[in-house]
Symmetry: C2
Subunit: 242 residues, 2 copies
């Protein structure tokens, strides 16, 4: 039975917004970075999987933040895998400040893809190291929800460029989060309300495609949808304001 | 007489492009982050200056990179102030790999601004700590050059959004570098040629403005210009391919 791994962080000046608090996209990047580093350290990172032409793909993620820490504040990200099924492995994160208060909880679900067949791999049959990494502690928040489609007109369009793409030439996750934040009224970021963000990744998007972003405000929720040139949904997000 | 300060770095997965080498914008962010941290450590950081309602503003910067290191590679950024005049303080950086080879040289020029009067401050009269930080070692590369204007049509436009702005609600330097990279032919990043990039910051740009980016290829050089709604140049860059 494995143990959780913890990694120290500090809010760097380039990570803050005009309120001097760390942005959701910077928190998201750090969380995903830790996922990669921890998988690597435990022997089932992307570079090991790539030998069999397999890779991890993020399917859904849910972030809950009670507050966003300010510039130069130190915090810690702990991560562990709690369980997996045929298709999805659940990786969890908690973010804890120096007083020991957990201010962030993240639950992510990943599938393993066979890059040759472009198909999901049955997780029960592969990666013994992955099995050994399970920690018997449940996810710290509700698992990522399915985000409903919306039928709103785009308010932002963006042509996918060099700075948006990752090693696979697909749009990177941070950019999707940024595009979702960029359509919200900027006043949202003046206050620091507790919130939850669920994201569903539906399809990859590539260099040169033009993406459009729509959003719809519902009671205590804001839904966002990113579509490609063909009008197909690439990614959906739901912000819940608490 | 002060000494250079050195800070350790590692190329993180989210910093690389599709060639698995660190991007110029990520290198730029790390360099500027170190500028802030070093000024802070030596007693003339933005937060001290702000007490008098002064701030540092980046005027020009020149980057020279012989190569861009790959993912997970460790390197070090050293920084020092070599000299200053009435208006500009020169902060230098060298980037050194684990074999001791210096692969990057950066020269930046900063003015100190009185935020109340929105005017430059005479550096000879202020900040004793700044004087004491001078290191008697010249800049490691030619000082930033003046970049000529160009007369080309825009190939990219972008409306300034939440994710583009810094604590001042101005577009952050990383975003300018990204916009410059994003208009270059993507093949430029497949090879890893030695290069130099000079940037002149001419005017601030704010939330809600629409920026347009033009470029012009000349012999061994590519010139880029970012303009605001009014057609005024905000920022100019010159890439020299070596």
């Amino acid at each position: 039975m494995a143990a959780k791994s913890s990694y120290p962080f500090r809010v760097e000046p380039q990570e803050v917004d005009f309120s001097l608090r760390i942005t959701l996209s910077a928190l998201g990047v750090n969380v995903l970075n830790i996922a990669g580093i921890d998988a690597h350290a435990k022997g089932f990172g992307v570079e090991v999987l790539n030998r069999d032409n397999y890779s991890w793909v993020l399917s859904r993620i849910a972030f809950e933040f009670d507050y966003r820490p300010k510039e130069y504040v130190q915090y810690e990200i702990a991560t562990w895998i709690s369980d997996y099924g045929r298709m999805l492995s659940t990786r969890n994160f908690t973010l804890t400040d120096q007083s020991g208060t957990t201010f962030g909880r993240v639950v992510s679900q990943w599938c393993m893809i066979d890059l040759t067949r472009r198909a999901a791999v049955d997780l029960r049959a592969v990666a013994e190291e992955h099995n050994e990494a399970i920690v018997a502690e449940p996810a710290p928040a509700e698992k990522p929800r399915k985000v409903p489609a919306i039928d709103a007109e785009p308010v932002l369009t963006h042509r996918v460029a060099y700075s948006d793409i990752d090693f696979n030439r697909h749009v990177n996750t941070m950019r999707y989060i940024e595009m979702m934040l960029d359509v919200l009224p900027i006043e949202r970021f003046e206050q620091d309300r507790p919130m939850r963000l669920d994201i569903n990744f539906l399809k990859e998007s590539r260099y040169g495609e033009t993406l459009s972003v729509s959003f719809e405000e519902r009671e205590s929720e804001t839904l966002v949808e990113i579509r490609n040139d063909a009008g197909t949904a690439i990614c959906r997000g739901a912000f819940e304001w608490r």
